[in-house]
């Protein structure tokens, strides 16, 4: 069935085209092609997964030559192994649920048909990245995702915040992508082919070429997966519709960065420097983003920072050779983060604000959202038996086994992040669902009610996934590792009771502390206790302000200088030539005074001058 893999990107892409052009005219509206396309891709992904499970560790590749490029033939096609099959299923499930959820969430939106088509295209782009057999093919999907994220984050383009966030996301990821393209070219030239199979089989490092290629690739990964220092776009991307946040954070875009590292893992293993760089970046991002999430008041931004932090877990796992654990965490994260975002969307739609200080007490009005959000939060915090606990501990285990400076750093920072994560998750749940409602109490108070079935069913499905995803690792024979066909040089995950017990204890202590603080005054923010420390946290350590001062303002100044040079230099020259021509013409106009004899005089004088001149020339 793996020869059908090309349908994975093709079906949603077709759905996007159909939905965009005839979506409004077909019965059922633009939701029909979107859901049919997503559902079709989901079925295909299951078939592909079935085939991949039937023959684990095998790679199914089907390519066709497409066009010669620089002395090589560019192939397009699909390359399916366990990793691809599993990630494709993950993408399809989340995308399908987001499409279903959006039919209710975006109901009444005047641009729903465009929105649904963009979501389909986004899914298609991610699936193209997943199944691509060629680095350039992968790049096409990669860039399409950048475009789609720009369009979707800027969906509410009538608001300034959404416009700015869209531009910020596009420019920031583009900054990393520039390095990514160069990295692809370096690797492709080194291997003599851009086919992934050839790139992975290329001989090891010589003269640092591979290291350069791998580090350059990391540039794109850091941009797309929102790692420090290019993480700034992700929290701002919350200006988009909430289902889009779920899609970007769980299945597409940010997952693509981690996926590419996992896909090209042998390249990174052959260039250990790049893994060290990735590990350092991940350590900084992991703890920093979790701390910022502590101080945020905006529900969606808390989740965004938590995504940044969780992606850093995956990156750190890859850096310490915990390949399988990282991919496992990618899967569980997709489930619980999509769940949390969709639950947040359900809450926002009811209370009409993003601010947790305006919420509270929603557990009675929204029982389904409440219970599913609790499941998502427990998975995020890493409480067993929810899947997130085991995937996270897999990464920490890998770090401990790896040892050395990098492994120890990842392990220690990872444990600290576990504590902080538990704290902000507990705060989020308490501030949103417990206590008393703190929003408007007069006539402006919204009617608090549960969301419609179309929105709650995806929540329940994702909650079930968050719980059931612990089965592969609990059942002992490590199904995940078998499907995934981990590359050489990586550690197999195993369930260490000690590690799980330690992090569970940390989670419980941290959550308990926040709960105790909250009990003293349920209306107040439990983390107000942080006092003056909150200020740098709420400002996200001033990274945005720093970029504003160091990058944006100098660039604006430069742009203004260029504008001035154009206005007063180039443009002045052009306009000056026009003015000069007008002036000279105005002088010549005076000669045309209507006196025919004056004209004739000029004629005679000119003829005489010519004759005399020519005669003199001839004589000489």
């Amino acid at each position: 069935m793996t020869h059908l893999a090309w349908l994975l990107p093709a079906l949603p892409a077709l759905a996007a085209v159909v939905g965009l052009f005839v979506g409004a005219r077909i019965p059922g509206g633009p939701a029909v092609p979107a859901i049919v396309g997503g559902g079709g891709a989901f079925v295909v992904s299951l078939l592909v997964l079935g085939a991949a499970e039937g023959s684990p560790r095998a790679v199914h590749e089907s390519v066709t030559p497409w066009t010669p490029i620089g002395g090589q033939t560019l192939h397009v096609g699909t390359r399916v192994d366990g990793l691809v099959a599993v990630v494709a299923v993950m993408v399809c499930v989340v995308a399908l649920l987001v499409q279903v959820y959006s039919t209710a969430y975006m109901a009444g939106d005047p641009r729903y048909s465009v929105y649904a088509a963009e979501v389909s295209l986004f899914t298609a782009a991610m699936l193209l990245v997943v199944v691509a057999s060629n680095l350039f093919e992968l790049l096409v999907g990669w860039e399409l995702m950048g475009l789609c994220s720009y369009l979707l984050i800027g969906h509410y383009w009538q608001t300034e915040g959404a416009r700015d966030a869209a531009v910020k996301a596009f420019v920031t990821t583009r900054f990393g992508d520039a390095a990514f393209v160069v990295g692809i070219i370096v690797l492709g030239v080194h291997a003599g082919s851009f086919d992934i199979s050839r790139v992975l089989a290329a001989p090891g490092a010589r003269g640092g070429v591979l290291t350069a290629g791998a580090v350059l690739l990391l540039g794109g990964v850091v941009g797309k997966s929102a790692q420090f220092p290019l993480h700034v776009w992700l929290p701002d991307a919350m200006a988009g519709p909430t289902p889009i946040s779920a899609l970007i954070h769980a299945a597409t875009m940010v997952a693509a960065g981690i996926f590419v590292v996992a896909r090209l893992y042998p390249v990174f293993v052959a260039a250990p420097v790049s893994l060290t760089v990735l590990g350092i970046i991940a350590c900084v991002t992991m703890l920093g983003a979790a701390l910022v999430a502590l101080a945020e008041d905006d529900l969606k931004r808390v989740l965004a920072w938590s995504t940044v932090s969780q992606l850093a877990y995956m990156a750190a796992g890859l850096a310490v050779r915990g390949w399988t654990a990282s991919i496992y965490h990618l899967l569980t994260h997709a489930a619980f983060k999509a769940l949390l975002f969709l639950a947040a969307g359900s809450v926002l739609r009811t209370v009409g604000t993003n601010l947790m200080s305006q919420m509270g007490g929603l557990r009675r009005a929204m029982p389904v959202t409440f219970v599913t959000a609790i499941v998502g939060a427990a998975t995020l915090a890493g409480l067993p038996p929810f899947a997130g606990a085991f995937s996270k501990d897999g990464i920490l285990d890998a770090a401990r086994e790896r040892g050395g400076a990098l492994g120890s750093a990842v392990y220690v920072v990872g444990l600290m992040t576990v504590v902080v994560t538990a704290a902000y998750v507990t705060r989020l749940i308490l501030r949103t669902f417990f206590g008393d409602y703190r929003g408007a109490t007069d006539g402006a108070r919204p009617r608090l009610h549960e969301s419609p079935l179309v929105m709650t069913v995806p929540l329940v499905v994702l909650a079930a996934a968050s719980i059931l995803l612990d089965q592969p690792i609990l059942s002992g024979n490590s199904h995940v590792a078998r499907w995934l066909a981990a590359p050489a040089g990586t550690a197999a995950p195993h369930l260490g009771v000690g590690g799980v017990a330690l992090s569970t204890a940390l989670v419980l202590v941290s959550a308990g502390a926040v709960f105790a603080l909250w009990r003293r005054d349920p209306a107040a923010d439990p983390l107000a206790v942080l006092g003056p420390v909150r200020r740098p946290l709420a400002a996200a350590f001033g990274v945005d302000a720093f970029y504003d001062r160091v990058v944006i303002r100098p660039l604006h100044a430069l742009a203004n200088a260029v504008l001035r040079a154009d206005d007063q230099g180039l443009d002045a020259a052009v306009e000056g030539s026009g003015a000069t021509a007008t002036g000279v013409g105005g002088g010549l106009r005076r000669l045309q005074n209507g006196n025919v004899q004056a004209y004739a005089s000029g004629l005679v004088i000119a003829v005489v001058a010519l004759v005399v001149g020519v005669s003199l020339a001839v004589v000489r």
């Binding site: 106009r589 045309q592 005074n593 209507g594 006196n595 025919v596 004899q597 004739a600 005089s601 005679v604």
Partner: protein, 112 residues
């Protein structure tokens, strides 16, 4: 008679014609001056014809052509002069300046 005598006479006639065209105000005098210039050319044609003893007498033939064309030209010219006189009550060329380039009057857009 030497050729140069005829050419000298012709040049004098032409000069008188040029002077008339450039200096006279009366349009009819202007036409007469043009006739002088044409006939100066005719004189040249005939003189060279005789000097070179052209068997086909091309010079004389051309002179006849010029006479015919000049007659037609004077006909048209006098008609124009007559029309101008009826319209403007004058035939002084320096007063006929309707073709001068004058600054256009300031246009006022009614819509705005």
């Amino acid at each position: 008679m030497h050729l140069s005598m005829a050419l000298l006479l012709s040049a004098l006639l032409f000069g008188v014609g040029v002077y008339g065209v450039l200096a006279r105000r009366n349009a009819i005098a202007l036409l007469m001056a043009v006739e002088l210039m044409l006939n100066a050319a005719n004189l040249d044609l005939v003189a060279f014809d005789a000097w070179f003893k052209d068997t086909l007498h091309a010079g004389q033939v051309f002179a006849l052509f010029v006479v015919v064309v000049a007659a037609a030209e004077v006909g048209v010219g006098l008609a124009i002069v007559l029309a101008v006189f009826r319209l403007r009550e004058t035939v002084a060329v320096d007063e006929l300046r309707q073709l001068a380039d004058v600054d256009p009057p300031v246009r006022v857009d009614v819509d705005q």
